[in-house]
Symmetry: C2
Subunit: 257 residues, 2 copies
């Protein structure tokens, strides 16, 4: 196994470039960090390269998968710190390929319209996995799924959901054709209180979450079939996008249980 102990090494420098969005898109690769995410990536069979300190590579759960990976590098703690985005790194990393992901038409779907905050996105991925939404489709201008803050906020649930970027008008038209009921929150029109909406397991639902500041784009508002109002005190302007989305997904999950 090759050892890489300098962060000026060509291989390391190339991997560090994956911290930039345009490089990730060009190469169709992204970097994950930590035992949990590396293991999930290994199980998905999308790992191209593993990098870890001697100790980290000996970790049981990771070690038994190492033979499935073409490139494994032992790195120094110094290099690990350079690659890491966190204070207490577990010193294990995987370069993964962005496999093309497909919509799961058997389950409910989350649509993210220009969502900007990586923490919100990561939390929504975790909630979607928790409430049986198996696909998330982000508009082209939403925050990148492969941002390190997003990955961390998913708390290891990143690989449980299909993640796709697509134009939402086209997507919503396709989903309507496929029989999906489109849900959204539009504060400017008549809406139905969440408590009063009965979701059922005969219908499939696609829920649109809008941008944190501007809400759902004008051109998507007319495509909403059920305009939902999450009950709240009107002294507060709005709920956090991840909170509102998760409350609605939870209600759908409970109604269909």
């Amino acid at each position: 196994m090759q050892k890489l102990s300098s962060s000026t090494n060509y291989k390391i420098k190339e991997i560090l470039k994956l911290k930039e969005k345009h490089v990730r898109l060009e190469r169709q690769q992204f970097l994950v960090e930590g035992q949990h995410l590396v293991l999930e990536a290994l199980k998905k069979g999308i790992v191209l390269t593993i990098l870890g300190t001697e100790l980290a590579l000996q970790h049981n759960v990771v070690q038994k998968h190492l033979h499935t990976v073409d490139e494994v590098y032992e790195i120094s703690a110094n290099v690990a710190q350079k690659l890491s985005d966190v204070v207490t790194s577990q010193h294990i990393f995987a370069v993964c390929s962005m496999k093309e992901q497909k919509i799961d038409y058997e389950h409910n779907i989350l649509l993210l319209d220009q969502l900007q905050d990586p923490g919100n996105l990561g939390t929504l991925i975790r909630s979607a996995a928790s409430f049986d939404f198996k696909t998330i489709i982000g508009s082209a201008n939403a925050v990148s799924f492969y941002n390190d803050k997003v990955l961390r906020a998913t708390q290891g649930n990143f690989f449980q959901v299909n993640l796709i970027n697509e134009y939402l008008i086209k997507t919503i038209n396709d989903l309507k054709q496929a029989g999906y009921v489109i849900l959204g929150t539009n504060l400017h029109q008549n809406s139905k209180k969440l408590e009063k909406v009965r979701f059922n397991d005969k219908d499939k639902y696609a829920l649109i979450i809008g941008n944190e500041a501007k809400g759902i784009s004008f051109e998507l508002l007319d495509m909403i079939d059920i305009n939902i109002n999450v009950e709240m005190d009107d002294q507060v302007e709005s709920l956090n996008a991840a909170i509102a989305g998760s409350i609605i997904m939870h209600k759908i999950y409970v109604d269909n249980a």
Copy 2:
């Protein structure tokens, strides 16, 4: 009005120290930033000092309150950038006094047991304000309410909730005496599905949210009256703390509406 154009000015250096938790606690002061939060602080009557660029101080909503403040300084854009924690600063700041806050015994209460993530705390403050929880009590070792990331995540709803730090065992005993029903999520014991719990407006509730990694402290678990299970797919280990807390608060809000 005195103009401060250097960030090495004594006054500015003293204010910059408020970014450190121990200084905030020593002085019982904290710094807020942005038109919205500064205005809310002015309305609360807790502002000791206002600092803003010439343009920011002329802003209508702020200007009409300036006469209520003893110290107003005009600062240069350079100093504003030094004080700011955000990329696009609105160049207006207020030094506020931490007025002692009291429990509102007429409303439901949120208890934060060693919550660590400032984003979660800010989001929970925003949700508490939205769902009529008027008091939040954090354990002594929880993340500081006055952290700049917390303040930002509240999206201007920081001043709508009473914020208190207290020992939770003592607090919970007091709340039980005052007739509060203590709610929590303990994954290791028998629990009741959230959907099956009927909250009513005759009871008052205090909801404990545990630490992101460890959950609710061992010594508090026995004090829980209703152990709530937020329904979710068991392939995911847990929900984000702010999400779980907000889903429960929303249900209580809806049941009591």
